[in-house]
């Protein structure tokens, strides 16, 4: 096939990008080379629109062992233990083919983690669907949940937490973000940097097929009417093979024969070989005839661009091939020496004894395009004046029932009951809490993880929204008694070529950076997903934040369920009555304008750290952060989980009851305290200048404000649990 500008454009490259390729090579690339360039230079692999902004994120910290740039981030949790973790998107494939798209998303992120030598110990996910009225939503939700479960359950890794939302902006572009945590010994972490000349390059895992060719390019473009035609670009997963690959790799890693290892994810053999060579400042020579293929007559182009799953590339020490092969034979996996490292600093591919590609590695990586896209700064929307008559007639309990049954608040049990969340025998906090928690096997430590996003806040004001999600992640970890350590982010946005979408990206990233820097909660890994749009319609900006924290003594873990009748309940943090962009405003009074709640980073840090001190001193019986739906929604969930009620006190504030109960001011938690500890708690809060309010006292089974405003917990539970089950069974 003759390569020209048109062929390049069909590969998703821009005119000037094609010209740059010809200039760098000083010749016209052949079709295989063009395919390699298009795979390396697309948005998904090159981060060409996001790189200059991502550089500004804080990535260092006392406990950070590895920040962004490797397969995943690594943090130190003491005693020579480290946690490897990352979140990644699989949005485009999941919309086209929900089961396989979601399944391979989970498979891909687990590979990123075990590539570094870590055994995966927990999975999480953040999934976002269109309006519940949209005709595709139900099937997409079912397919994605089955896919996530199908892969994670078979791997034997518990899915411990997640987040699900519905919003019409995802009607044509759902989001599927998968996160994995792995456990590794600090001195046994593996990296992707090749080193040494003439070292054997090994291919292991599944055979290469024609599935997923140009998957990364597909993920770098907007959807149009012909989306169904893109089905063949979705990869097909086989969790059984990945389970074998996991065990085989960990067995090989127990020895000392691996120099570098890299999984074949987006852009398959192309990106894995080039990344290893680039990091090692070396060349790689590959004989494509040696690559195990599933189908006959595959061309060099197809072999290089296939995104078949469950494959790894390894650079071994010389002479260790036989020993390594034995392990992969035991697990019934393909093993082939396909090439070697060279000093050429080029990627050189041979097929049928012919040199079919010859590209300097730096042209693909360092010289890849980088854009400083135009972007528009967002204005802070004006505060809405809510008319008193709009809310004066509302009955608190009726509003509460509607909110508890809202798709974005209701119990997601239908989803997480389909995920194995107890395998590995260390899950001590299952889905449905503020964070999932797993013990570090065989120790007194536990790791907490949570995944959060607030697309509505980010859409209303990206800078504030960006800060808010980091703070929410911080709060979710603290609520279970974990000290927050670091985050991973998955940045889901519309087209970077649209100034408004690009502005949302830039300012969300700025907000994330400001909050994570202030809270000493650095970003250690992540992924950017642009072009989440159909035709001209982009999604609401949806950065997902995966936070990880440590509980030194797992017996001190906190859950949100109310524990004991007569215990006192306090609200930490000040309630100002911010209703704009709250669930109440959007759902109950249909008001979609106004600014999101303000973030005060000083209060976030101070309130959170003070609560951690209270937990460390064994003064807290249950805790829950206040987010969507405000105080009364949060306290209802604590009642439902604990099968207890609460006698609520009337607010002392001048703001009215509706604002007090449903506002979404930030930096707040609800805590349960034994009355004998009340004085100690209040003293500590006062000493640290933390604002608190008395919220009430726990009773047997009733949410009670006054004789006219009361409801049984069973009734609230019914509203909270039935919506999703009924929706999915109709």
């Amino acid at each position: 096939m003759i390569v020209n500008e048109k062929v390049a454009i069909d590969h998703g490259l821009k005119k000037d990008e094609y010209k740059k390729i010809c200039d760098l090579l000083k010749r016209t690339p052949n079709i295989t080379e063009l395919g390699i360039f298009s795979a390396m230079w697309n948005e998904h692999c090159s981060y060409k629109s996001s790189r200059i902004h991502l550089k500004k994120l804080p990535t260092k910290g006392k406990q950070v062992i590895q920040g962004p740039g490797e397969n995943a981030g690594v943090i130190d949790i003491g005693d020579n233990d480290a946690i490897v973790f990352k979140i990644e998107s699989h949005n485009h494939p999941s919309f086209i083919e929900p089961y396989q798209g979601a399944a391979t998303g989970v498979g891909g992120i687990m590979r990123d983690v075990f590539t570094m030598g870590a055994r995966p110990i927990a999975n999480l996910n953040s999934i976002h669907f269109g309006s519940t009225q949209h005709k595709k939503t139900k099937n997409l939700l079912r397919g994605v949940v089955h896919g996530i479960g199908g892969y994670g359950n078979c791997m034997g890794v518990p899915t411990i937490a997640g987040q699900t939302s519905f919003d019409s902006s995802y009607n044509g572009n759902i989001l599927v973000n998968a996160m994995t945590l792995g456990l590794v010994k600090k001195n046994k972490i593996f990296y992707s940097k090749a080193a040494g000349l003439n070292k054997p390059v090994i291919y292991v895992g599944s055979k290469t097929g024609r599935d997923g060719i140009h998957g990364a390019s597909m993920a770098s473009a907007s959807f149009d009417d012909k989306i169904e035609e893109k089905k063949p670009t979705v990869q097909v997963g086989d969790p059984f093979t990945e389970k074998l690959l996991l065990e085989a790799c960990l067995e090989l890693m127990a020895g000392d024969s691996i120099i570098a290892i890299q999984d074949m994810g987006a852009a398959g053999l192309t990106s894995s070989s080039i990344e290893m060579a680039s990091k090692g400042n070396l060349g790689i020579e590959i004989n494509l005839n040696k690559v195990p293929c599933r189908e006959s007559k595959m061309t060099p182009y197809e072999i290089m661009l296939s995104e078949s799953q469950e494959r790894m590339l390894i650079v071994l020490e010389n002479g260790k091939e036989e020993q390594a092969k034995k392990i992969f034979d035991k697990w019934n996996l393909d093993f082939a020496v396909i090439g070697k490292t060279t000093k050429s600093k080029k990627i050189q591919l041979y097929f049928d004894n012919e040199l079919v590609a010859n590209i300097p590695v730096n042209t693909l990586v360092e010289n890849s395009p980088m854009y400083d896209r135009k972007w528009k700064k967002a204005k802070l929307p004006k505060k809405i004046k809510i008319k008193k008559e709009d809310i004066n007639n509302l009955k608190i309990i009726e509003v509460l029932k509607k909110i508890l049954a809202n798709p974005n608040i209701c119990s997601k049990e239908w989803i997480w009951q389909q995920y194995d969340h107890t395998v590995m025998g260390d899950t001590i906090q299952k889905p449905g809490g503020d964070s999932g928690v797993v013990r570090v096997h065989g120790t007194n430590k536990a790791v907490a993880a949570s995944v959060d996003s607030s697309a509505v806040y980010c859409w209303a004001h990206p800078l504030t929204g960006g800060k808010q999600i980091v703070c929410e992640s911080f709060r979710n970890l603290i609520s279970v008694g974990a000290k927050p350590i670091a985050i991973t982010n998955c940045l889901n946005f519309g087209s970077p070529e649209n100034e408004e979408n690009m502005g949302e990206f830039v300012e969300c990233v700025q907000g994330i950076g400001e909050a994570s820097s202030y809270l000493k909660f650095p970003v250690v890994s992540g992924n950017v997903s642009f072009y989440n749009q159909t035709k001209d319609q982009g999604i609401k900006p949806t950065p997902s934040i995966g936070g990880v924290g440590l509980i030194k003594d797992y017996t001190k873990m906190i859950t949100m369920d109310f524990k004991e009748v007569d215990n006192s309940v306090l609200v930490i943090g000040k309630t100002e009555g911010h209703i704009d962009q709250s669930l109440f405003a959007r759902v109950i009074i249909n008001e979609k304008n106004g600014p999101p709640p303000e973030i005060n980073l000083f209060n976030e840090k101070n309130n959170g750290e003070t609560l951690l001190k209270l937990i460390e001193n064994n003064l807290i019986k249950s805790a829950h952060d206040i987010s969507l739906g405000g105080i009364i929604t949060a306290v209802s969930k604590m009642c439902i989980k604990g099968n207890k009620g609460i006698n609520l006190k009337k607010p002392k504030y001048l703001i009215n009851e509706i604002e007090y109960f449903f506002s979404e001011d930030q930096g707040r938690y609800i805590i349960e305290i034994n009355n004998s500890d009340l004085k100690k708690v209040v003293d500590l809060l006062n000493k640290n200048a933390v604002h608190y309010d008395e919220l009430g006292t726990i009773n047997e089974n009733m949410l009670f404000l006054n004789e006219k405003t009361k409801v049984t917990i069973d009734e609230l539970k019914e509203f909270n649990t039935k919506w999703l089950k009924e929706y999915m069974s109709n």
């Binding site: 089955h146 479960g149 199908g150 359950n153 078979c154 791997m155 034997g156 086989d238 969790p239 059984f240 093979t241 389970k243 074998l244 697990w331 019934n332 997480w416 009951q417 389909q418 995920y419 194995d420 969340h421 107890t422 395998v423 590995m424 025998g425 260390d426 899950t427 001590i428 299952k430 013990r439 797992y554 017996t555």
Partner: protein, 227 residues
């Protein structure tokens, strides 16, 4: 007491079972599916997971593994063999226990706590256990027990039902049946009661920090019965 846990390709509860057995005093050995001989054992366990990726039919390929001939011989000579979840699926494929395990009634994987009523305390598995009802944990896609009417009659005639899904008070009713199993059957013995297959995972309930602690009762009782 000595035990052996078989690891098949795709097993994923093998480590959890190893941890549980050791916690309650067993000297446990892990056995690879391609081994031919079993180590000397008082108990052999087929663990949960997705042996052979559930390809063909859950448990069917594992039932033809090299080691399985030794496991079958061991069982036929009276040895204690316990299959949990995928291990139960493997046992029905070998014919050591009767019946089959179909896909769950609502075609969804289920992971949650369930209550089971102990139906037969004459076996070494449940002899001397004080409780009538245990809270255990299930996590499966194919746990819907089924057999023919003739088989069911034989099962009932020989008291082969080990445990039934029930509520906290031990009531066995359809509404407490998580997966559509015939007669709420959650676990079943062979005629001689030395082979037990069950869907619930006692090994996930061995510590009050976990989803529950009734698995501890099961294992403590089991090792005492074998002593």
């Amino acid at each position: 007491m000595k035990s052996a846990v078989i690891t098949f390709p795709g097993s994923n509860c093998d480590r959890d079972m190893d941890v549980a057995l050791k916690k309650f005093g067993f000297k446990n050995k892990m056995v690879w599916h391609q081994d031919v001989e079993l180590p000397k054992s008082d108990l052999v366990v087929l663990p949960g997971g997705f042996s052979y990726g559930d390809y063909l039919r859950c448990g069917s390929m594992a039932s033809k593994s090299k080691i399985m001939q030794s496991v079958i011989n061991f069982a036929n000579s009276g040895g204690m063999v316990m299959g949990i979840c995928n291990g139960f699926q493997i046992l029905v494929e070998t014919g050591l226990v009767p019946g089959v395990l179909l896909r769950n009634k609502y075609l969804e994987f289920i992971c949650k706590n369930v209550f089971v009523k102990i139906r037969n305390k004459n076996s070494d598995y449940f002899k001397n256990i004080n409780n009538e009802v245990l809270e255990l944990h299930i996590a499966h896609n194919e746990g819907n027990y089924f057999c023919t009417n003739d088989q069911l009659k034989e099962i009932e005639d020989h008291n082969q039902i080990a445990i039934n899904y029930c509520n906290i008070d031990g009531k066995i009713e359809e509404k407490f049946n998580p997966n559509g199993s015939l007669k709420n059957i959650a676990g079943i013995f062979n005629k001689e009661k030395n082979v037990l297959g069950m869907m619930p995972h006692p090994e996930r309930m061995i510590d009050p920090s976990l989803s529950g602690n009734d698995g501890s009762l099961f294992f403590k009782n089991l090792i005492n019965n074998l002593k």
